[in-house]
Chain length 316, copies 2
Amino acid sequence: MTVAASAALVDRARAGDRVALARLLSLVEAGGPAAVEALARLYPHTGGAWTVGITGAPGAGKSTLTDRLLTRIRGQGDEVGVLAVDPTSPFTGGAILGDRVRMQGHATDPGVFIRSMASRGHLGGLALATPQAVRVLDAIGTPWIIIETVGVGQVEVEVAGAADTTVVVVNPGWGDAVQANKAGLLEIADVLVVNKADRPGRDETIRDLDNMLAMSGARDWTPPVVQTVATEGRGTDDLWAAIAAHREHLEHGDELVARREARLRDEVRAIVTDRLGQRAAALCDGPAFDALVARVAARDVDPHAAAASLLDPSGA
Amino acid sequence: MTVAASAALVDRARAGDRVALARLLSLVEAGGPAAVEALARLYPHTGGAWTVGITGAPGAGKSTLTDRLLTRIRGQGDEVGVLAVDPTSPFTGGAILGDRVRMQGHATDPGVFIRSMASRGHLGGLALATPQAVRVLDAIGTPWIIIETVGVGQVEVEVAGAADTTVVVVNPGWGDAVQANKAGLLEIADVLVVNKADRPGRDETIRDLDNMLAMSGARDWTPPVVQTVATEGRGTDDLWAAIAAHREHLEHGDELVARREARLRDEVRAIVTDRLGQRAAALCDGPAFDALVARVAARDVDPHAAAASLLDPSGA
């Protein structure tokens, strides 16, 4: 795509053209010079969206909660974007028919934009691709962006944890199921949800969470523990109030600026590392590299000198 | 260390000075320009050693088997080096007194050089540090180098798998204990040892291994399954014969050259990646980086442009 074409796409997406938006997201996710060009043009318009990460074990009810939040946000007249990084999410087509049918109501609502990130490139790429997709939605003026990720795997947890407000969804009795990931999930939680709160074991789970929060020491913000039964819509208002309270907490202190700057810092570092990684892969491939390795094998040149000659051919 | 001093150290180590050897290993493991200089000087003298990787679950008996192999190798008059990458190994001081006392016999033998790699830098560094230590021992003329690693964790398995002959040690009933790592361990095995073969479940374990080997399809070399009771010295001759047979197989075909060249290829690539990673870390640190991130946060510059300006300051 030419620079002019990518600029036109940005302008059309910002004017509300949904087809242009979808193409812009694909462009950005694919990477390359046209994506970089488009992101540069979008970037000055970003910073207005509030991002909400929703994560938890498969089957915890993240999608149903997301669905309830969509209804809540649309009810107050706001537009909302959903990025589903969860391969089991009905938003990505991975769940049972009942769920999928329910989501369809939002899918045809022009105020809701849903994008599956689950199959975008390899997993390692998600950590880079998701913030770029957030940026596109942010720049076209979407006030709320929900990022739904399954809370298994470091990348997905990081992606959810990079939101302004991160909601961690657990179920009664969750402790045994996700023991290994428990600490990591609690660490990123701004709001804790005990979904399926009509099931046995709810009280023990709440006590368990309270204990862990107490042990983790004093902090500016203590994550509230909200009870929901998402399938019946119970607790949605409490969850929404908790998200709003966390937003107010961040916006009335220095923390929002610090958190967002820390995320940008991580992002610039990730782009630099990714570019240098691509450079390493390109250097260590092809006939010239093969010939160099043959010289190393013949003891003509040692491995460090070979690496140095790849990195700085002029210095050889 | 100056270039002249590192050159002198190499010469003294090659002349048989053990103190110089230990210092040389420390120098090489620490990395940096003096290490690179020393390795360049050592490199033309390498290629004569045969490396034997020994890996398996903690408690499988790797150290006791290594001890038996040391006796076997010393019995034929050869010198031998041991690099212990296993924090539970008695070679690294991590085991019970009985083991450690037995090892002491070898530790005072001037024909045996034992080096603990377990605490050398962070884990990620082991994959780079161990081949360099092998190179030092190789260059001073050590004909046999045993690399003992615990077979949990990708890096340790890779380090053991990078030997000329890789011995994977299992026990009767191992299948349940290391299920997750089973395929990875079998893939790198040139020789399989069922140690503690006097215990119940031996026959099932051997059948299990034979089945898995049969399923993995035809290959040039089928790993023999050797039974040992290392604590009593039973089976050591069989193990040594299996290692010798594998060596003969590799030396009488093209595979040895191809394998060693593939390892050098991986090593050059790892050095290039490591250097570029260091460059990324250096670029993304310090006041200039902080100032740049502040400009990104202020929407003066977008993250990709910021990364590009770090990578190529002249192009800004």
